[in-house]
Amino acid sequence: MGELKDADAVGETGNPVCGDISYIYIKVKEVDGVEIIDDISFQTFGCGAAIATSSMITELAKGMSLDDAMKIKREDVAEALSGLPPQKMHCSNLAADGLHNAIKIYREKREA
């Protein structure tokens, strides 16, 4: 929770009209030739569901390989929270998109 000072990448996502803005910070390290998420944190401006999905995705993704983390879907986040009401499903999008954006940015940085 909060800003990760020495993050390798930050994934931003959100929609200020519906009130949600989320930053997902990741720190990556290589273990046996596989890039894994060593540390992860979030900052979220949003309702209870938006904060809960952001928090849950950091729990889910920590220690995962980047390839596996890219496969986390919004349904996975919602399921890990034992479900979300239909009108709050977009909140889990926010979390998954934030993580995927962070990974994409990290990969673009590495290739650059």
Binding site: V17, C18, D20, T44, F45, G46, Q87
Partner: protein, 395 residues
């Protein structure tokens, strides 16, 4: 403050029933089973209960007893007023003027009428939520048949210039309806002095039961006047001056009457007590939390309403944290509804969507104590602080 207690600061949403009201409702549930339309003694006993309740409610707004009709809710009263006037007067004109900060119970009937060919003007409001009477005057045309502007706003508590609006409506021979659900019983209302033709109110906002409301209809008491300027929207028996068919909710109405009686008795003392509590609540909250502000007018506001804006945080999160701390409040954010748009009221007073989402309504009432306000004031700063720590939009 006993930590096992729950601090209820959402009186604008609904109120707990006054114990005296519960006694009255219970008594009539048990004993007054007759149909008020029946000629036998059991029926006439029930009719007497309605008579007394009508008298108490009329007295609270200086209306004639016979001009009060009972409905199932404030929402129903709004619907009868707006749709009823529109249909009755459609040959005279098709223009309705309302404000951009009305409750949905007024806004949505107006939008429905637009689909049927009526022309509706939604008057803008200033940053405090006030309608400008000059603008109202400018919008009136030969086609204008109805002005519907709320007495006081449910979210930000702003009290509209009803005196000026009533005068303009009268001068221009336009019917004036006001949704007074939030103001009724909380501040003095005189329908005659204010030139109000139609006024909606609800029992559950004044410590009465849910499922009971009323519509004041000027000059509808005498049979010859029935339906002169308004049509019913529901059809059935001849109950409630032919305006609202169906057997009356006698125990509920009795409770509404008792609730109105208590309000009238306590009004002078309660207004001052609540204004004092409200102003301390507002001042201390704004003093103790940076980047916070008050929504609505500082003075022209309901005695029981405070609406705060806290920058960089979202209202629903505040609400849930307060609830964990055993405090009930409300938010202007519509995120819990199917639409994710921020409150139309906060948007109308000029707040950005992000700021509109960071609002918190704290509404107090008859049972609110100094200790409860202290408890809220102690709990709120760390909640805002924590949410700001995890907020990416903090400056």
């Amino acid at each position: 403050m006993n930590s096992s207690e729950y601090v209820y600061l959402d009186y604008a949403a609904t109120t707990p029933m006054d114990p005296q009201v519960i006694d009255v409702v219970e008594k009539h549930f048990k004993n007054t089973y007759g149909n008020p339309s029946s000629l036998h003694s059991a029926g006439q006993k029930a009719a007497k209960v309605l008579y007394n309740a009508r008298t108490s409610i009329a007295s609270l707004i200086n209306a004639d007893r016979k001009d009060i009709i009972f409905t199932s809710s404030g929402t129903e009263a709004d619907n009868i007023a707006i749709q009823g006037v529109a249909h009755k007067n459609k040959d005279r004109g098709n223009h309705i003027i309302t404000s951009s900060i009305e409750h949905h119970a007024v806004e949505n009937p107006c939008k429905f009428l637009m689909k049927q060919g009526f022309d509706v003007t939604f008057l803008p409001v200033d940053k405090f939520g006030l309608v400008d009477p000059i603008k109202l005057q400018e919008e009136i045309t030969n086609e204008t048949i109805l002005i519907s502007i709320m007495f006081a706003n449910n979210e930000i508590g702003t009290i509209e210039p009803i005196n000026d609006i009533g005068e303009i409506a009268k001068d221009n021979d336009v019917i004036f309806h006001t949704d007074a659900v939030q103001a009724f019983g909380k501040i003095p209302i005189d329908v005659k002095e204010l030139n109000i033709d139609l006024l909606s109110a609800s029992a559950h906002k004044i410590y009465g039961p849910k499922g009971v409301g009323m519509l004041y209809m000027k000059n509808q008491g005498i049979r010859q006047n029935w339906g002169k300027y308004i049509d019913p929207i529901m059809f059935g028996g001849g109950h409630e001056r032919n305006m609202r068919p169906s057997t009356e909710n006698v125990p509920g109405i009795a409770g509404f009457g008792k609730a109105a009686e208590i309000c009238e008795e306590e009004l002078p003392i309660e207004i001052n007590r609540q204004i004092k509590l409200r102003d301390r609540l507002i001042k201390t909250t704004l003093d103790s939390i940076d980047d916070s502000y008050l929504n609505g007018h500082p003075k022209k506001r309901l005695p029981n309403n405070a609406n705060f804006g806290f920058k960089y945080v979202e209202g629903e999160s505040i609400l849930l944290d307060l609830d964990s701390g055993k405090i009930a409040a409300s938010t202007g954010s519509a995120c819990s509804s199917a639409s994710l748009e921020p409150s139309h009221v906060l948007s109308a007073i000029g707040l950005t969507p992000q700021d509109a989402h960071g609002s918190l309504r704290v509404s107090i009432g008859r049972f609110t104590t100094e200790e409860e306000i202290d408890y809220f004031l102690e709990k709120i700063p760390p909640i805002i602080e924590r949410l700001r720590e995890i907020s990416p939009v903090r400056k």
